[in-house]
Symmetry: C2
Subunit: 492 residues, 2 copies
Amino acid sequence: MAKEVTNRAENYSQWYNDLVVKADLAEQSAVRGCMVIKPYGYAIWEKMQSVLDAKFKKSGVQNAYFPLFIPKSFFSREAEHVAGFAKECAVVTHHRLMNDPNGKGVVVDPEAKLEEELIVRPTSETIIWSTYKNWITSWRDLPILCNQWCNVVRWEMRTRLFLRTAEFLWQEGHTAHATSEEASAKAYEMVQVYADFARNTMALPVVVGHKSPNERFAGALDTLTIEAMMQDGKALQAGTSHFLGQNFAKSFDVQYTNKEGKQEYVWATSWGVSTRLMGALIMAHGDDNGLVLPPALAPIQVVMVPIFKTAEEHEAILDKMYEIKKELEAAGHSVKVDDRDTLRPGFKFAEWELKGVPVRVAIGPRDLANGTVELARRDTLTKQSASVEGLADTIDALLQDIQQNIYAKAMSFRDANVRKCDSWEEFKTEITKGGFLLCHWDGTAETEQKIKDETKATIRCIPVDSYVCEEEGVDIYSGKPSKQRVIFAISY
Amino acid sequence: MAKEVTNRAENYSQWYNDLVVKADLAEQSAVRGCMVIKPYGYAIWEKMQSVLDAKFKKSGVQNAYFPLFIPKSFFSREAEHVAGFAKECAVVTHHRLMNDPNGKGVVVDPEAKLEEELIVRPTSETIIWSTYKNWITSWRDLPILCNQWCNVVRWEMRTRLFLRTAEFLWQEGHTAHATSEEASAKAYEMVQVYADFARNTMALPVVVGHKSPNERFAGALDTLTIEAMMQDGKALQAGTSHFLGQNFAKSFDVQYTNKEGKQEYVWATSWGVSTRLMGALIMAHGDDNGLVLPPALAPIQVVMVPIFKTAEEHEAILDKMYEIKKELEAAGHSVKVDDRDTLRPGFKFAEWELKGVPVRVAIGPRDLANGTVELARRDTLTKQSASVEGLADTIDALLQDIQQNIYAKAMSFRDANVRKCDSWEEFKTEITKGGFLLCHWDGTAETEQKIKDETKATIRCIPVDSYVCEEEGVDIYSGKPSKQRVIFAISY
């Protein structure tokens, strides 16, 4: 094989980095903490965008675009919000460079200092609510349902490709409503959109739940989350939807006249998923040979590799392949014929396995004569012979089966790694083994913090689906009464 | 009418601003020079993106994503390039805010000063070529054909919505090639992609040509452009494609081993169009009633307005409209039924005219009884009666006709405002009347500059299509020999 990937068992973290870099998804850039998303990685992100964007639009959301920069004074208006983001802000202070008077290249022109510093958006609630103020007068102007696809910057000190980068791409939805109930329902609706996308498109069995107050978005009254389990047993927060109450409306004085003619503050939600989803996708499904992509997100769903000795054989097989390709493309599949004549089939097999292509079609001279092909599926690494006759249908069924199997596999893994835990002693051991621990919690931030300090485990969510958690019990740590179990885990 | 628009004849510039703001396309934000693109405006931009993106992909280009920030030292490596952009850069100098020790909100943390300042990309040649260095070793790695859709920042002092903003959205393609010929051909191919898009999707009759050396992109050996004429006779540069030679390859030491085993510098192109296209679209086709959108870019192609007196009539007409809507949508058209019962039809007509919706369908009780509708076309403001029977086909034909008519209208306007000019005295008068002047030019930057100083006119391009310009003559200003005419105009 050209590019060796570290084994998961050996070094999971290195395995992840190997996959990202060697499968040509992304790489570190020359700018600290910022990544370059390479074409193959970006093609997956584009597929994610396209599926999500259609779901947003179906729910009545429209796209818009708001400024990259946020004046410092806006940023500071909501107290919790600024406290949450102030420590990791890229700050623009000047608007011009000049030739160094000492002749050493270019320097910042001290004369071009901004009157007020601008923050590169880490999230856009403040600039958007300062805009909504001008859009909202009466109940007739509500609801406003906007989303933007953009880049944001959070100056993280320890970065990892896709999972935690200084700049990342995301979408952020920001809605404005007349009532608390409507806003709250929208926040719930959007986390369900994310869950549906994660499960059916990413093949990722996520748990939907509420964040504990400690883990909420800075400025939110409630944060809903989808939590996924990675193959090392750690949790990964894959998307969040926030009910913001009237916090931002009050900070930016956004009021509307209700049907009774009275002034009221507007209710808000915001919700987002980011290129972090790429990290989740890689870590949930990959194996020691490389990526395993669900067909719904694979830029190439079917790759065809000719097996040949002579140039004549090569040509004859390629002809057949282009014929099959046309048929598969007509059926809506994305297909690549690997016609490089300088590489051995084994090398190509390994390369496309590394890149996670769901189905590989190999054709040799004997297949050509017999009207058959060899089909290999990436998820199980198994092979079968198939007739060229009806191949589009065979492959269509195979892709569906792969999509479902990848989900089922991830679900069994999760099932095998979720367990109830009712004693603190047991918890301290069990948490080091990874997985989700369903434990009683007394609902206090104090207990949560102590558990985190002692074990690094956090409450990933208070589930609203997947597990029946409502029951009386006693907190695993404090021994105080608890009304339901929550998920504790070590997380990314 | 709810929202009055200034007449073009009265104040063209104010008319433009009125259209942008009152048709809900965009507005100024609280951040100097940065705009908010509102949902209706963004929907047009999304349509532009979708058509262009498909064309790029068809030409073999893949999308990718490169960092927002560029280290100052990279930015300065290509001398002409930095000279071209240094005066309008947003510079990030710090990465953290802190509570003001004097208790006055938050301030920039002086401890968090960056070792090296980061420039918010005004364009990405430098960061991309520093990346390509790692991607290119041999001729086998070439060509590289990448594009990114992103935001860029140029700190313009005088801004106008869409036409010139500090932050704007665009796409930038960056390609790397083994030979000068191949790169040069790619630059030409991409300007043709833009011209095709402008003509067939935007209904904008553009002239393709080379920029004069004075007007080239900072760092390019050749800049190709598409130039459009606005209704005030000014020129608008709508897209550019640059042949960069080996300038960036040399600045970032990007060499490849050719088939003979020798090291050579790589050849480059870059090409981009931006949200400025929105400005071109508005100014080229709008009239005193508002926007006129070509059907290919209209977020709503058909709007239906019921005419009714009683609630029963309203309901019966709406039922019919939803039935027609389904049919039209099945035929691939985007349709809106304006079912608001609190607004008069006249108000709605004016609103949808302002928003440039190509076709309006009105149905009153008598139409309902007769099985007819009233069709109004936005481009000509004419009305006709049509049968409900076969309406989808009627509207399909109408939309095609509107698309062609808008183009034809813009083309006649341009034809009426392009003229040859062979005397300097005449030039000085003619240029004040607007339009494109086809004049002989001696090819020197000096003459071009003098003409600009005296009249504000610049060479918009040395045409490669639209007009036959190659002929012997004498420069209009210097009287020196000239080999061809070029287009002079006052531009945006």
